[in-house]
């Protein structure tokens, strides 16, 4: 078996056992990347030289007996391109950050390095994490490895596609309204968004500060748990960072859900949900029920209000967070200006894509005088109600289950002309960010076109271990999933070459 098809933990233990070196892994991975990148475009930057040097360093340390309690030491991975990496281009897939090489590492970058991770490169994404298809990247779209005529989802599309296409053993993405979970579901991989504050945001280029979180995307639940152990942790540089009581996420990987109380909101299964997706999700709940979990349907309101609240809050915060991109201190500056104001306006109009501009305009609007109370404050009130709704639900249930997305992966170009339609696809994921809850998407089957379907599990704050246990137990009932054309030549629309 190709080592690139191994899971991250499997590779990690083979490296520790001395079967494979980290450098072997890096070389094998880059071979596959070279083969497949033309098809999928998962990466913005590849750091082969750096990866080999680093692999050598880590290999030496492992052989010297260090990194003993780091199960992923020597395992190559990749980071979404909105996570700062010292000296390496960090572009947020935007022209306005062209050439930007941060003089510092993000907190997660530091943690991964300390755990012996080896960075392969930076992954493609929707510009500034705004989008659900990875079509807004200034470097061109990512293609879904299950069908290159379709999107991988977004905004961590490159991360999910790379994990699915075995172009990395695991990836680090970010999730503001579903950007880890939804592409994971479209690409047939596992992705987790932690409780807000569990992973430091220091060095994550901000989209919506009160909603952003960094999380793992990998080919199975165990890998996600192992990555969570590396990246989660309190950071004094992030005032919204929190201390968890218990970081031993891999202890949760136990195939036992007896007595687990599962709630499924009826409103999640209503109109707009693809019937095949609905079937697969209900099937997932049944599988857990067969293992001893108690599944119940219940009424949770507020589902319809999550998207308006999300877009108001996210756009407002984004409009402020992105104001610093002005051509003064870093990134792109228009060559064509006479005075300061012109420089600002042309740089920004030129440097940002349409979706980003759209959200900045919305954001400016909902914060502007006269509209602040009606929109922004109201959205914060709706957010409070959404949280309250979840709190009430979690008094009765340990986890909530539902679809990750209402459909499987749409075709490239399908959603671009209708932003509102695209926003509505986030219906199941945004409320989780609004309430600051942890959520995980696990593959639960494919539709009749062979496209992956994801089931989302949501927990109360700090209940990552419960989620991981449920996800792990569920995963055990599913056969492995792998995009059929991975080893074939370039194909279109699901056909074999």
């Amino acid at each position: 078996m190709d080592i690139t098809s191994l899971s991250a933990l499997e590779l990690g233990s083979r490296i520790k056992a001395g079967d494979i070196t980290s450098m072997d892994a890096v070389r094998a991975q880059f071979e596959k990347i070279k083969e497949r990148e033309d098809r999928y475009s998962c990466y913005i930057t590849l750091t082969q030289e750096q990866a080999l040097r680093r692999a050598e360093q880590v290999q030496r340390r492992i052989e010297a007996g260090e990194l003993r309690n780091q199960p992923l030491a020597g395992v190559p991975m990749a980071l979404k391109d909105n996570i700062c990496t010292r000296g390496v281009l960090t572009s947020c897939a935007s022209k306005i950050l062209e050439g930007f090489k941060p003089p510092y590492d993000a907190a997660v970058t530091e943690r991964l390095e300390a755990a012996g991770a080896v960075m392969l490169g930076k992954l493609n994404m929707d510009e500034f994490a705004m989008g659900s298809t990875t079509e807004t990247s200034c470097y061109g779209p990512v293609k879904n490895p299950w069908d290159t005529g379709r999107v991988p989802g977004g905004s961590s599309g490159g991360a999910a596609a790379a994990a699915a296409a075995e172009e990395t053993w695991y990836a680090i993405g970010s999730d503001t309204g579903g950007s880890i979970r939804q592409p994971s579901s479209f690409c047939g991989v596992t992705g987790m968004k932690p409780t807000y504050g569990a992973v430091s945001r220091y060095g994550l280029i901000a989209y919506a500060s009160s909603l952003d979180q960094i999380g793992p995307i990998a080919r199975n639940v165990s890998d996600c748990a192992a990555v969570m152990e590396i990246i989660a942790g309190w950071d004094k540089r992030d005032s919204t960072s929190v201390r968890l009581d218990d970081y031993k996420f891999t202890d949760a990987l136990v195939d036992d859900v007896k007595g687990l109380r599962i709630g499924i909101p009826r409103s999640y299964l209503g109109e707009g949900l693809d019937p095949e997706v609905k079937e697969a999700v209900i099937g997932a709940a049944k599988a857990l029920e067969a293992k001893g979990a108690a599944v119940e349907y219940f009424d949770m309101g507020m589902v319809d209000y999550a998207i308006p609240a999300y877009y108001v809050i996210a756009s407002a915060e984004a409009s402020s967070n992105l104001s610093r991109f002005d051509g003064v201190k870093y990134g792109y500056r228009t060559p064509d200006f006479e005075d300061l104001q012109e420089m600002y306006k042309k740089t920004r109009d030129d440097g940002f894509g349409m979706e980003v501009k759209r959200r900045m305009l919305i954001g400016a609007f909902v914060l502007s005088s006269g509209y602040y109370d009606a929109y922004y404050i109201k959205a914060l009130q709706v957010k409070a109600l959404i949280k309250k709704g979840f709190d009430e639900a979690f008094e009765k249930y340990d986890i909530i289950i539902g679809p990750t997305a209402p459909t499987t992966a749409p075709r490239l170009g399908e959603n671009l002309s209708d932003p509102l339609k695209m926003y509505l696809g986030d219906i199941y994921t945004v409320s989780v960010n609004l309430a600051g809850l942890p959520g995980i998407s696990v593959p639960c089957g494919t539709d009749s076109s062979g496209l992956p379907i994801g089931v989302q599990m949501i927990g109360q704050t700090f209940s990552e271990k419960t989620l991981l246990r449920a996800a792990y137990a569920f995963e055990k009932t599913m056969p492995g999933m792998r995009p059929p054309q991975l080893d074939g030549a370039a194909v279109k629309g699901g056909e074999q070459a």
Binding site: T90, L97, F100, R201, Y202, A206, R324, D326, K329, Y330
Partner: protein, 480 residues
């Protein structure tokens, strides 16, 4: 027909808090330094960076609010004020709009013959912006972010002032209070205190407020006084011409003694304030308030009274000594050691202030040991050095904090205690200057002065003029 007008003035005062580090990052707040050397990715607004609040900033702001009689907003938070300007790297300033730390305070001022209470609308914490350096040679501006993120409190007064005198009295009271607290240097020349003036005029007796203008860039109390006068005159002239005062921001140019409307910043002044999602709110408990209040120093008024009763100095002198808490502290320490408060007071009020003015600095910057001043006073009291020498030595103490005894020794300033030797020299001087002797004998008592001078010269200053004078008179009278 001309009317009687009254002026209505409100102030927005920004004070830099004297914490060691900036408000949201661990950069030094030290003044000066090469451009962008007290800067980190956080205060330079680099992508992915986040603010973390400096506890001391809250403590200092809290102390200021309490000393200025404000109600404390126990649950307060930070908001983002969004606008574009090159000195603002994040394109938003973290400030407090909705829940400022202090509200409804007041400050009592004393003007010529009357007292008045000036209301403080609110006090809030915020971060300072960087510095723009307009290049002389090239048509460009260069930005230095060293000052970016330095903690500020903004003190917004009610429009309760009606003259430049009141404004100056208010500013002096604020400055002194904050210096006494030790929370800010309040040095206008360094920019650690800045005042913007909101001014309008109206006919005497009218209740409605006139349209106000905002004035910036007054860098000294004198400039403030001139600006207030000029703007009052200008607005009155506008109204008398039958026109309306335009609400605008004006920049004061002290060299021209005039103000100019600043071209309004292109962006609409819609700052879109919203709570900063990166900063959790601040809760100031009753306990915290009590602790900070307990640390309040003795303020000027009480100190003044105590100096009069404890040290027996005049109220006038006490006022001078307590104008600067640094001066007051040096005074007290010196008085404790040398046990001669009147001397200590004199040295500070006369000599120290003379040097302060000559060096174009202010008393808060005095940096010498009270012990050395006390030693100097002791040397003079003991007759070991004369006053002229003492003044010279004091200047050295002021500048370099030297040890007076050893300095006097090294520089041969100690008075010759050998009176026989002195007599001999006086004798020589008298012999060498028969005309002066004649003049003295003829009744011109002042001729002694010349002989004293000559003696001092012959003695290389190492004598006490008073003693010499007495000896000369004695010898001349004896010779009869």
């Amino acid at each position: 027909m001309s009317y009687e007008y009254e002026t209505v003035i409100g102030l927005e005062v920004h004070c830099e808090l004297s914490t060691r580090t900036k408000i949201f990052c661990g950069c030094s707040t030290e003044f000066g330094g090469a451009p962008n050397t007290h800067v980190c990715p956080v205060c330079a607004g680099m992508p992915g960076t986040l603010p973390v609040l400096n506890r001391k900033v809250v403590e200092y702001a809290l102390a200021a609010c309490l000393a200025l009689n404000c109600d404390i907003t126990q649950h307060c938070k930070f908001d983002r004020k969004n606008y574009f300007y090159p000195d603002l790297p994040k394109a938003y300033q973290i400030s407090q709009l909705y829940l400022p730390i202090g509200r409804n305070g007041h400050v009592d001022i004393e003007c010529e013959g009357y007292e008045k209470s000036i209301g403080i609308h609110e006090i809030h914490m915020e971060e300072d912006a960087g510095k723009l350096i307009h290049d002389k040679w090239e048509d460009c501006t260069v930005i230095d972010y060293n000052r970016c993120g330095v903690p500020l409190i903004e003190i917004v007064s009610e429009p309760d002032m009606s003259s430049a005198d009141e404004v100056i009295a208010y500013l002096e009271k604020l400055r002194r209070t904050l210096q006494y607290l030790g929370v800010s240097d309040c040095r206008m020349q360094e920019g650690s205190i800045r005042a913007d003036i909101n001014l309008s005029v109206r006919r005497r007796g009218e209740e409605k407020l006139g349209t106000r203008t905002e004035m910036k860039n007054m860098n000294s109390f004198k400039a403030i006084t001139r600006a207030i006068q000029a703007e009052t005159d200008r607005q009155i002239e506008v109204l008398e011409d039958g026109k309306r005062v335009t609400q605008e921001t004006r920049r004061w140019d002290d060299s021209k003694c005039a103000s100019y409307a600043m071209r309004s910043k292109e962006d609409a002044q819609d700052y879109r304030y919203f709570p900063d999602p990166d900063l959790p709110p601040v809760f100031i408990s009753d306990d915290w308030i009590a602790r900070v209040k307990a640390l309040e120093p003795e303020f000027r008024e009480d100190k003044c009274r105590r100096y009069v009763s404890e040290y027996g100095i005049s109220e006038q002198d006490a006022l001078v000594l307590t104008d600067s808490v640094r001066m007051a502290d040096i005074f007290e320490e010196t008085a404790k050691i040398c046990k001669d408060p009147k001397e200590a007071a004199n040295w500070l009020m006369v000599e120290a202030m003379r040097i302060v003015k000559a060096r174009e600095t202010d008393p808060s910057q005095m940096n010498f040991s009270p012990r050395h001043l006390a030693e100097l006073i002791a040397l003079v009291d003991a007759g070991t050095i004369n006053r002229a020498a003492a003044r010279e030595i004091f200047e050295k103490i002021f500048d370099e904090d030297i040890e007076p005894e050893s300095y006097a020794q090294e520089h041969g300033m100690k008075i010759e205690s050998d009176s026989a030797g002195l007599e001999k020299v006086i004798g020589e001087v008298i012999t060498a200057n028969p005309k002066s002797v004649e003049d003295y004998r003829a009744g011109k008592k002042k001729a002694v002065g010349f002989l004293v001078g000559q003696t001092m010269k012959a003695m290389n200053g190492r004598a006490d003029p008073g003693t010499v004078n007495k000896m000369i008179v004695k010898m001349l009278d004896e010779e009869r």
